[in-house]
Amino acid sequence: MYDLAKTESAVEQKDTKISARNVQVYYGDSHAIKDVDVDIEDKTVTAFIGPSGCGKSTFLRCLNRMNDTIDICRVKGDILLDGEDIYDPKVDPVQLRAKVGMVFQKPNPFPKSIYDNIAYGPRIHGLAKNKADLDEIVEKSLRRGAIWEEVKDRLDAPGTGLSGGQQQRLCIARAVATEPEVLLMDEPCSALDPIATAQVEELIDELRQNYSVVIVTHSMQQAARVSQKTAFFHLGNLVEYGETGQIFTNPVDPRTESYITGRIG
């Protein structure tokens, strides 16, 4: 049922990329995330699973401080990226987000050309010295987004004119173009059909060579297929975190077992 071979081959000790300790998140008066401790490894795909409203997306958005854009949201606790506290006042959230890229639930290409969509991040951060350099970054990113072959002849066409699956791969390529160290994906396949989903999943597996990928998903099959580590959230608590194979075959906590067998959620 689950692709255990892949996950087992990935079981080897990796460096910790992100380390969260005692994280609390409040939306106004409601306590959305409670005491979450988690270590996310480098060059690994980590899946966050759990029922709707369990806080997995909220926690994901803490990792690149996207929650700062929500007025009523407060985050407490420590989140360390490469040993540095990302909520330290010295840290510029803008620079942090360049290092920790994000792909959203709904494909959100800018109403610009495909080329300008990809070149957006590199231009903002001054990653290209000249036009030729930028062309190269765009091509490399589109290739990594596994969409180069489909769009190479129409880079001037608007990004919004692509199909849903193509748009999402464009958004992944756009995130990759800024050379992030961590890529956060918030249900990246929820708006896609099975074929596009398979393409994106394949892409995630390739991205693992270079990045630490964190993916929120509602599909347990998807979590089992693409991830090496899985975290199960329930009602704002991190219930269980471990090797994907172990979580899906031999969960420790009874709540995890209930969820993956479909009894809660």
Binding site: M66, T69, Q95, A98, N108, F110, P111, G121, R174
Partner: protein, 492 residues
């Protein structure tokens, strides 16, 4: 019976119809409302609507049509040689109406009996004197053919009125009886009422559209009259605006159009950046508390009557500009560029202030319509807020903002009070914003106020100016709506 009591009677009948219809429906179902096809009230509405609506419609049409019919009937009685030199049939007819009204008042106050009013002759009675005693002043002695026409006028009018009362009353009673008899428990009253509501809504919508068409047509015919008296090449292509009453006026729209567009341009130069930046601040940066206070405050600007802006231009902005650019060595700059308070710059600045809420409110709505996902996408790539606004939000909102600016431009072109008070009255081509100039709207006001003679081109030119202005703003509005609509499709 005066028309007022007729209307009261109709409404009373409708109220009675409601009660009767409802009762009959309930009775036919043996008192059990659940056996009825519709709720009992619908049967009541059905009866009262069939009693009321056709009768009211006929009443309205009759009230509009009767004066026209009476007019044509009576005006035939006045022979052409009875119309004095330098007068028209229209003037004689207004005398006729005046005399007829005077007779009505005389009868009402028992100064004359009904038969006397119908039979008196100017040969034997000083009608002007007698009506004067009753407070009806006539301009000249009543001539026999006028009095005769007036008496005829009264007769036709009162017959018409009687006939109208009978027809409307019969229609109301007939409608009531018809739908009362149709009322039984299987009658689909709800569907009928629903259709009635639909008809009412369609009527309201078409009234608004017909009014617009009516306005355009009335302007159009007067414009045709104008072009019969004045050459259209001078109007559209001439270079001078110089009306006089010697009959050789030069009436060209171009200097006025230049003033209008120049002032509007300055107004937009003020309103667009300020309004747009205010909208960006309100929608992207301001917290919910600031927004809750600042947005209504900004929109108060939109509620200020334009005459108040005009006063502001005349009393505050104009003198302030003069103290900067004028007064020679006493002025702030020590120059003598500006003589009076009225100038293109004065009117443009104040009109710009007036347009700020217009631009900001529309742009704010459009910026808010840009999906949050766009902003998240940009912020998630490490862009700052202003980079996000500049490179993602504004480009996405641009077509809508262009639409908002065009709407503001059409407001500016049609604006009247501010330019009447702030811009001056001199029609000329000049690039100097410190000189006073005039606009199309100002000239319409000045051509139509005071003593006007609706047969001279100097007055009729106002209609030609008006319709040109209308076409101009209509074009801008259509363009703006087209752009805004196209933009809306982008996110659907």
């Amino acid at each position: 019976m005066p028309t007022f009591w007729l209307v009261v009677f109709l409404f009373a009948l409708a109220a009675f119809g409601y009660i009767a219809g409802r009762a009959r429906a309930l009775h036919s179902a043996g008192g059990n409302a659940r056996d009825l096809h519709s709720l009992p009230a619908y049967y009541g509405y059905n009866v009262s609507l069939t009693a009321l609506v056709p009768a009211l419609l006929v009443l309205a049409i009759w009230l509009l049509a009767q004066p026209l019919l009476v007019e044509t009937q009576v005006s035939r009685m006045i022979p052409t040689d009875a119309i004095p030199e330098n007068s028209t049939l229209g003037l004689v007819m207004s005398d006729v109406r005046r005399v007829a009204e005077g007779l009505d008042i005389a009868v009402e106050q028992n100064a004359l009996t009904e038969t006397e009013a119908g039979s008196i002759r100017t040969e034997f009675t000083d009608l002007r004197g007698r009506l004067g005693e009753l407070g009806v002043a006539l301009g000249s002695d009543v001539r026999p053919e006028v009095l005769k026409a007036a008496q005829r006028y009264r007769v036709i009018n009162s017959t018409g009125h009687l006939l109208m009362t009978l027809v409307v009353g019969a229609l109301a009673l007939g409608g009531l009886a018809f739908s009362y008899l149709r009322t039984n428990k299987d009658f689909r009253a709800r569907n009928v009422v629903e259709r009635g509501v639909l008809a009412l809504l369609v009527l309201a919508a078409s009234l608004a559209i017909l009014t617009t068409i009516g306005i355009v047509l009335s302007m159009f015919f007067e414009t045709i009259n104008f072009f019969k008296l004045h050459s259209w090449t001078d109007f559209f292509f001439g270079g001078t605006w110089a009306p006089n009453f010697r009959g050789d006026s030069e009436l060209s729209i171009l200097p006025l159009l230049w003033g209008t567009l120049y002032i509007s341009f300055i107004a937009l130069l003020v309103a667009v950046p300020v309004g747009l930046f205010a909208a960006v601040y309100l929608s992207e940066y301001a917290g919910s508390h600031v927004r809750a206070i600042a947005k209504p405050l900004l929109e108060i600007l939109a509620g200020i009557p334009t005459i108040v802006y005009g006063l502001f231009a005349l009393l505050t902005v104009g003198p302030a500009l003069v103290s900067i650019f004028g007064r020679g060595s006493e002025g702030l700059l020590g120059v003598e560029w500006m003589a009076g308070a009225t100038s293109v710059l004065t009117a443009g600045l104040v009109m710009g202030i007036m347009l700020i809420p217009f631009v900001s409110s529309l742009s704010d709505d459009i910026i808010n319509a840009v999906p949050q996902a766009m902003r998240d996408g940009s912020l998630g790539l490490g862009a700052t807020k202003s980079e996000t606004v500049k490179q993602v939000v504004l480009p996405a909102a641009l077509p809508g903002i262009v639409g908002a600016v065009l709407l503001a431009a059409s407001r500016a072109i049609g604006e009247t009070m501010i330019v009447v008070m702030g811009a001056g009255a001199i029609a000329k081509f000049s690039l100097n914003p410190l000189e006073s100039m005039t606009t199309i709207t100002t000239r319409i006001v000045s051509q139509l106020t005071g003593d006007t003679d609706f047969a001279s081109p100097e007055t009729l030119v106002a209609f030609a100016l008006g319709i040109t202005l209308f076409v101009l703003t209509l074009g801008l509005n259509i363009l703006a709506l087209y752009i805004v609509r196209k933009y809306r499709e982008q996110y659907e």
